[in-house]
């Protein structure tokens, strides 16, 4: 068997430890070893963003991050957005603004929007469109995704504790 490496990191606030080959990509570790199937695989070339997760305060495309790069990291996936049974404002807004259809891009969209609003709590429409341009959606035409991010931004700036 190929040589494996132990890797420990925090996933949605909880410590996890895995043994992986050096070549293993984070998306496969999350999905196949850690049972977090929220992040999806759409292209394997960093174009579509369906695999977007938050890693050490940055949006990363987990299809092009090696798991061994994540030693000691803080990784947040869509599964970590809901806190104490309460949906994150972005999750609620995607629902209310009809910002999703097939749902395949949604976990990546949510995670990118989550980081975008940390970087820029009150983005303009253009800033949202630019800030989300690493995440492709084939269903919605983005208009309602933009509306959802705007709605969540308004809600979060009005009550920042919810972020």
């Amino acid at each position: 068997m190929a040589k494996t490496h132990p890797v420990s990191f925090k996933l949605n606030g909880k410590p996890v430890a895995v043994e992986v080959e050096a070549r293993e990509l984070l998306i496969y570790t999350l999905r196949e070893k850690l049972a977090h199937t929220g992040p999806h695989i759409g292209c394997e070339t960093s174009h579509c963003g369906a695999c977007t997760v938050d890693c050490n305060g940055m949006s990363v495309k987990s299809c092009t991050v090696l798991t061994v790069q994540c030693e000691g990291a803080e990784v947040l996936t869509v599964e970590g957005l809901e806190r104490g049974g309460v949906l994150h404002a972005l999750q609620q807004a995607f629902h209310e603004e009809h910002g999703l259809q097939c749902g395949y891009c949604t976990p990546g969209m949510l995670m990118r929007a989550y980081r975008l609003l940390q970087e820029n709590p009150s983005p303009s429409e253009q800033e949202i469109r630019y800030g989300m341009s690493g995440n492709l959606c084939r269903c919605t035409g983005y208009q309602n995704i933009v509306k959802a991010v705007q709605a969540a931004a308004r809600k979060l700036t009005a009550a920042p504790a919810a972020a």
């Binding site: 759409g42 259809q101 469109r129 492709l136 983005y142 208009q143």
Partner: protein
Amino acid sequence: MADPAELKEREQKLQGLGSAMLRREDARFIRGQGTYIDDITLPGMLFGAIVRSPYAHARIKAIDKTKALASPGVVAVLTAEDLKPVKLHWMPTAGGDVQAVLADDKVCFQYQEVAMVLASDRYAACDGAALVEVEYEELPAVTDPKQALAEGAPVIREDIADRKEVGHGPRTHPNHIFTWDAGNKAAADAAFAGAAVTVREEILNPRVHPCPLETCGCVASFNKATGYLTVYVTSQIPHLFRTVLAMLSGIAESKIRVVGGDIGGGFGNKVPIYPGYVVATVASIVTGVPVKWIESRIDNLSTTGFARDYHCVGELAADRDGRIKGLRFTALADHGAFNSHVSASKLPAGLFSICTGSYAIPNAYCRVDAVYTNKAPGGVAYRCSLRVTEAVYLIERMMDVLAQKIGVDKAEIRRRNFVKPEQFPYTTALGWTLDSGAYQAALDKVLKAVDYEGLRREQAAKRADPNCPTLMGIGISTFTEIVGAGPTKVCDILGIGLFDSCDIRVHPTGAVIARLGTMSQGQGHATTYAQIIATELGLPASDIVIEEGDTDKAPYGAGTWGSRSTPVAGAAAAQAARKIRDKARKIAAHLLEVGENDLEWEIDRFKVKGNPSQAKTMKEICLIAHTGNIPAGMEQGLNAVSYYDPPNLTYPFGAYLCVVDIDKFTGEAKVRRFYALDDCGTRINPMVIEGQIHGGLTEAFAVAMGQQLPFDENGNHLGNSLLDYFLPTAVETPRWETDHTVTPCPHHPIGAKGVAESPHVGGIPCFSNAVIDAFAHLGVTHMDMPHSAFRVWQKCQALGVNQRPG
């Protein structure tokens, strides 16, 4: 009299037809808890990786599995030789052809499936696939459908070289598949011979791909002990899929369960039955353990589900005022290496004959010649009904060509030719009966909303200004679609009629479960079907659960494609609900001790006419239907199944207008405005409709402005990853303005017509018409898609419009 406020409240509580009810499928998706195909893991599951051909046309001299089999984790390597004993190395196609499951003797397109490596996990399978050694002898390839029919062209399908026909009439060349036509050629020719004005244009619908964000895949699980086969699969047609699996495998259909699960977008890509599914299924039958096969994005763009590749010639004949007297449309259709084109048996060119559009055209003839090339096989309908985008693109482009020829405004040429409201039902010269429409009213509403006259004035001023850095174009599309396949007398696949079904069970508390033969891929069926049933039954949509896609649970249906869910399964839902309501009426009459005719229906209850205090709500009746207090001889329960065979297809229409500003120096076409008016008949959920329209317009924008699957002359794919294949981001995608009129479908139980494909079908010609209109004053009548900045810049360069003054 009932209090109007109270009636309104009761109606709102149902969240039935017309309510912008929020989607119930969202709850799992926003939490990352959808169950898509690659989320399914079964104990002992193997992963299959496909070995693919690097050549577009080559003979296979030898396959050596030795190194692959020695690779860690590899369990088996399957080739055509291994499938021969079970006679599954070839499979029949819906088009009357056969398709290689794994390449037998030779490969006919690049990336064709040659072998499948089975291994303990994805990485090991890919390692193994890289170690399968295949020796090829390269053959000359044909990628241009015109060259395919040349004398002496390489014969692509030696396996059927001596077959006189492939499903649809005589063949004229070894690379010819079929010729199909419709209409009266002699009458059309006569109209052209006597016409004051004729126009002709060669118009390409390039090879594109629906490219849903989730690729195709399956998990096949055969239980050797019980003989049961379960296949989880990305299929828009689970029931037909099960039937085909039964036909292929010989396993009784009752022992096969196909499960659709959550599907990450389809857009036509997930209609066909692909070799990967079949090999994975065979592999599971052989090994007795579950086998997963998931496409990579490159596999997806290269091999499964291309669309279009229609090389068309449009001709119109008209009088001096532009009133059309004759239409002749032809298409050379590139079906790739196998005729696995998705279509109904009797419609080899799909519904291409809708190409007379929204116009009263007395004489028409159309013909499609389909050919083999060394490209991926098939031809799916990318967010449209079968070949409808091709047809609508042609007529909507040709209307502009005709307008330019006779010097008439592009809105006016349409006005002069529309089928008028009083002409419905209108049977076209190609045989379709358009059931309803109000085309002029729709166009007028759009022209007013955008101040069309003002836009044309602005355009004229810009054209007159040599210093203007942009070319302004205005595109109009007044399309009519044909969706909702379809009447079983016209439409079948493998002999199975394209009806659809709904099975409703009402529980004692008034909660309902309904199962349908369709398969959502994001359309929101769990919400909209519940709304149809809520209105019909007077029970709240929130308590109505919808299930689809599990063939063990749902009644038989032909799935979701061609905007058929609402027109066909939605009708079945209404019909099944009406059967239940009829029974409920009998129970109500029994309870209230009146005749059935003494009752009237009001939102959620039956009332005694003239004595409204005497009433029974549906909720009350639901419980009583499960007691002994029902009419003598009646059975308990409130259940019904309906199989709906539509009397006609439906004909949604719309009027779209697009304004583009083209940078003369970069060729970039910026969409300033896009106004889309759709008429899909009765509107079930305005929020969902608007979402579908946004998505369809965005896919239209993608096709018109950037999508193409290009090949070199050797058949090498030149753009099969998301690096090259254009999927618009939020930055490029325009803002959409939507509007509607409502012209109910006269033959549908609730008057609905289907909507999700209209924006794609109507949008593509609208973008093209806008870009080409920007060059119309320079004598340009046509430019082929995609209108990428480079291609548009080339046009600017060729015309010399990018010379800076002074």
